[in-house]
């Protein structure tokens, strides 16, 4: 199945309900997002203006505006939970794909929000701060805040353009130029909406009772709406797919309401009266809801068919997995019952697949290794040497480190190995009857040949210690005579240890005696 699939767990609610809930939750969220953005932009503008006029001492309107920021941003964040939940449940694959394709930016949102929230909150509360510092901090806060909707729009534009996903993965972290333009206008359209929303809010709240401020807010609203008309046209012109008539009708409702709002504000301004709240509130709703509905419908057009396809792909995939589900659960139950707190379990799970049940080096995986696993039942060593091998592994072989078992567990493993295989036990003497001539010959061969790597003392020469794998230290690590004889006769495959089968049997036994006598 190399098709895209939906998640295999069922959705908790039927799709239409998820869809409608998402729309409602999103409208609520957007309202406070727009207030938050609008308030921040307005406060920053008012600060610049009062500073420019040299009235920073008398006028604190910008601070009053900014003081509502705490409320807006807190509500915007919390109201964002529901739409995020609903879109992730309802449009799982498109949304998460948008997120993962722009993951670095998406995660940056957290940092941007923290910076702007903390800065704006402190700017709203600190009255006496130098204007330059205020300007500097305010700019950082504003840039950080305004970057957030840019990222959200980016993720949504991506989620809505499944045909672009592969390109985005290929090209790194950016959209193609047509979509970039669309993203830009859509983003600016959000900021424009925020200007209007902020203006409307502060017209009714912080400008209350002050005709001069109210007029200023009306100008602000007019400028915002005019700019929205321009941007709206640009957004529409750059839509990736041309919308159907039903979408256009909904959009016209919003545009007409905006035009009506513009007209009534103009009228109020020219007659120098204040427009009625009774008129403005419903008009704002009549703008915001159809506009967001337009957005929703455009999104639905591009994503609903994909969603159907994902779900049917998921059903096929689930069917192919179904024959494995019982086995998966049985394995899981086994896993839960396997507790790695004793030497036996650790040996069986972590060692046996190479070293074998009988520790003869003949585990299931041994055939895959060019250097055969050690026949550990034939090893006689010290607990410290064994511990070092377990903690560090053996370089140049498959033997990994087992330092992920803490000291107590390794102790239990060492105890287990010793109890079962006598790993720390005594080295039995060589049973073969070696003639003194053979022993003499063996001594000569050891110092002429073997000592080059193993060292005269059997610890391994410094050069040989760099081999992958290095030779063992015969003072602390030895093999049972039969096994040592075998290694000398056949060599150790995959290592520097070659076969000495050409030597007479007695000499080879002599060599065994030499190396095992090195044991301390």
């Amino acid at each position: 199945m190399n098709k895209l699939i939906d998640l295999l767990l069922q959705k908790p609610l039927p799709d239409p309900l998820l869809h409608d809930l998402l729309f409602v939750a999103f409208v609520l969220h957007m309202l406070f997002v727009l207030f938050t953005l609008g308030t921040a932009m307005l406060a920053f503008y008012l600060f610049l203006e009062t500073w420019h006029k040299g009235k920073l001492q008398e006028s604190t309107w910008d601070k009053e505006v900014l003081r509502t920021f705490t409320i807006h941003k807190s509500l915007a964040v919390v109201l964002g939970v529901a739409p995020l939940l609903l879109i992730q449940v309802g449009l799982t694959v498109p949304f998460f794909t948008g997120v993962t394709l722009f993951a670095p930016y998406w995660m940056l949102i957290i940092l941007l929000l923290i910076i702007s929230f903390l800065l704006f909150d402190s700017l709203a509360h600190r009255i006496n701060i130098r204007p330059y510092l205020h300007l500097f901090l305010g700019m950082i806060a504003l840039v950080a805040l305004l970057a957030v909707p840019a990222i959200f729009v980016l993720v949504l534009v991506t989620a809505e353009s499944p045909d672009q996903w592969t390109n985005i993965v290929k090209n790194g972290y950016h959209l193609d130029s047509a979509l970039t333009l669309h993203w830009l206008f859509r983003y600016l359209h959000v900021l424009g909406a925020a200007l209007v929303a902020g203006g409307v809010f502060h017209f009714f709240f912080t400008a209350k009772g002050d005709p001069e401020k109210k007029t200023k807010m009306l100008h602000w609203i007019v400028a915002g709406i005019l700019e929205q008309f321009v941007l709206g046209v640009l957004v529409f012109a750059t839509l990736p797919k041309k919308p159907d008539y039903d979408i256009i009708i909904v959009m016209i409702v919003g545009v007409a309401s905006a035009a009506f709002l513009l007209w009534s504000v103009f009228k109020a301004l020219s007659k120098n009266i204040s427009p009625k709240a009774k008129l403005i509130y419903p008009l704002v709703v009549l703008i915001v809801v159809p506009m967001l509905l337009t957005r929703q419908l455009i999104q639905d057009k591009s994503l609903l068919p994909l969603k159907k396809e994902l779900e049917s792909n998921a059903a096929v995939y689930e069917k192919s997995l179904s024959i494995y589900s019982q086995a998966a659960l049985d394995n899981y139950k086994n896993d839960l019952n396997t507790v790695y707190d004793n030497g036996k379990t650790i040996f069986e799970k972590s060692c046996v697949f190479c070293h074998g049940e009988n520790a003869d080096g003949k585990g299931n995986e041994a055939v895959n290794l060019s250097i055969p696993p050690e026949a550990i039942a034939s090893v006689r060593t010290t607990s410290e040497t064994l511990r070092q091998i377990l903690i560090k592994g053996v370089n140049g072989t498959a033997m990994p480190y087992f330092g992920y078992y803490e000291k107590g567990k390794l102790n239990r493993l060492i105890d287990f190995l010793n109890n079962r295989f006598d790993l720390l036990g005594k080295l039995p003497p060589v049973q073969f009857d070696i003639s003194s001539a053979d022993q003499e010959k063996a001594n000569q061969i050891f110092s002429e040949n073997c000592a080059a790597c193993h060292g005269k003392d059997g610890r391994g020469t410094p050069e040989a210690k760099k081999f992958q794998p290095p030779p063992p230290d015969f003072t602390v690590y030895n093999l049972l005579p039969e096994r040592a004889f075998e290694v000398i006769s056949n060599g150790y495959p995959g290592t520097m240890m070659v076969s000495f089968a050409n030597l007479p049997e007695g000499v080879r036994w002599g060599l065994v005696k030499i190396v095992n006598d090195k044991k301390r």
Partner: protein
């Protein structure tokens, strides 16, 4: 998998989630739940005793608290979700479907919480006199809401370690009321009020001058600190008694890591020392010795933060191979899917790999198999670098280890793919470790052209 894979270079995914999450938990437990409750308590005492000291103390502490809660606390909370959406989309997507209703209710609770805390702050002056009582209710109401939030979130978090019967019965209730839910709730609340009282004591000790008030308040917060320290310790023990032994046995290692795993005494020494510092602080506060308390309060805060970090680390680590025990491995491969891929191939069943267009290139295959199987925990060149883990191993050694990760290392998921894919990945890893393949801290592993 249905999502393109992304990894945070250098830091790795786990650490990225952890940095944000631990900060969130320290704030949300210590400040949102703890300090606000202490503020409400202080306001109540001020009202009962008609004491300006208590009243002002509560009021002045609220402002920085509010800024931190709404500016950092709630944002990092949503941040956990944001970050996991990017790094573990399948995991979080599945969790949202299982726990849709608690999540939805949490949205309502969270919204009411925000409204209540804003009201509490903005009505402090206005609701005085006869309305003071209502204002105090608002404060305690907030604490109650914070506890409800803790209940909702803990049910979900507990599931990630002790999914109990859910893999078999898929019942929401058995998922939510999982065995570690109640003990974990007590543990979290114990830490919340314990840390909250220590934070509040610090504010008291460093901002208040009046000796009488300081001693009186210190004694109260010392009492609270002691009681909740005991609750915290008891519920830690309770919590670990319900965690399946399979997971519990890695707890000490999860704290020590490979660096210190052969020195378990460090673990016990530091934990006991930390607990003693906390106990000592509570005791000195209780006995109203201001100067010693002042000396101990910062170490006490630090140890509380360390304990929170430690606990979250243990909880996240020991569930080891699983993200949702019994359903999903930590690399976001489903348990049944892993078996399916073993027989039918991982690459063949990966949409995003099929989009890569260079499907015959074994380096590209290896990189994608690494991304799919390993990259949720291992980075290249960063934390838990795969090259450090495999240095010194032979190519066939890596092949053998890959086939046995799940049983060899109790907290690793199995390799999910066919024998041929296992061979491709082991060759890739061997060449990567030996430096033949140069791949500098990648964030995506698709479209990796073979360079050799």
């Amino acid at each position: 998998m249905e999502f393109p894979i992304f990894q945070v270079p250098y830091l790795g995914n786990g650490m990225t989630i952890a940095l944000n999450a631990v900060l969130h938990i320290i704030i949300v437990q210590g400040i949102t739940t703890g300090v606000i409750t202490m503020i409400a308590l202080a306001e109540y005492i001020g009202f009962k005793k008609s004491s300006e000291h208590w009243e002002n103390f509560a009021k002045q502490l609220l402002k920085p608290t509010l800024i931190i809660i709404t500016g950092v606390g709630s944002v990092t909370g949503v941040g956990i979700w944001f970050i996991t959406s990017a790094l573990s989309p399948r995991g979080i997507g599945l969790m949202l479907r299982i726990f849709f209703w608690p999540w939805f209710v949490e949205w309502l609770v969270f919204a009411v919480e925000v409204i209540v805390i804003l009201l509490y702050y903005f009505t402090w002056e206005k609701w005085s006199g006869l309305k003071k009582k209502q204002h105090i209710y608002l404060g305690f109401g907030y604490s109650l809401l914070a506890i409800i939030s803790a209940v909702l979130i803990t049910g979900i978090l507990g599931f990630m370690l002790t999914s109990d019967g859910w893999p078999w019965n898929r019942s929401f209730w058995s998922a939510f009321f999982n065995p570690s839910f109640i003990p974990q709730l007590f543990l979290r609340l114990g830490i919340a009020f314990g840390l909250g009282s220590v934070f509040t004591s610090a504010y008291l000790l460093f901002t208040r001058q009046d000796p009488m008030f300081r001693k009186e308040a210190l004694r109260l917060f010392g009492k609270v600190a002691l009681v909740f320290l005991l609750i915290g310790l008891l519920s830690t023990w309770w919590y670990f008694s319900v965690v399946p032994s399979r997971f519990k046995t890695h707890a000490v290692f999860s704290v020590l890591t490979s660096h210190f795993s052969q020195h378990p005494e460090f673990f016990w020494f530091l934990n006991i020392f930390g607990a003693l510092i906390l106990a000592l602080f509570s005791f000195t506060a209780l006995t109203r010795s201001v100067s010693i308390s002042r000396l101990l309060v910062i170490p006490a805060i630090l140890f509380y933060c360390c304990f929170i970090t430690e606990y979250e680390r243990v909880r996240e680590f020991i569930r080891g191979p699983f993200l949702l025990p019994g359903y999903l491995y930590s690399n976001q491969v489903q348990l049944d899917e892993s078996l399916f891929w073993k027989e039918n191939g991982a690459l063949k069943n990966s949409y995003w790999y099929s989009q890569a267009g260079n499907s015959a290139d074994t380096t590209a295959q290896g990189a994608y198999l690494f991304a799919q199987n390993c990259s949720s925990c291992h980075t290249i060149d960063g934390l838990n670098d795969i090259k450090d883990r495999l240095r010194g191993r032979t190519e066939d050694g890596i092949y053998v280890i890959l086939g046995n990760t799940h049983q060899m290392v109790p907290f690793m998921p199995p390799f999910s793919g066919t024998e041929a894919e296992r061979r491709v990945l082991s060759t890739f890893l061997y060449r990567l470790t030996s430096g033949e393949i140069k791949l500098k801290a990648p964030s995506r592993f698709m479209f990796q052209k073979g360079k050799s």
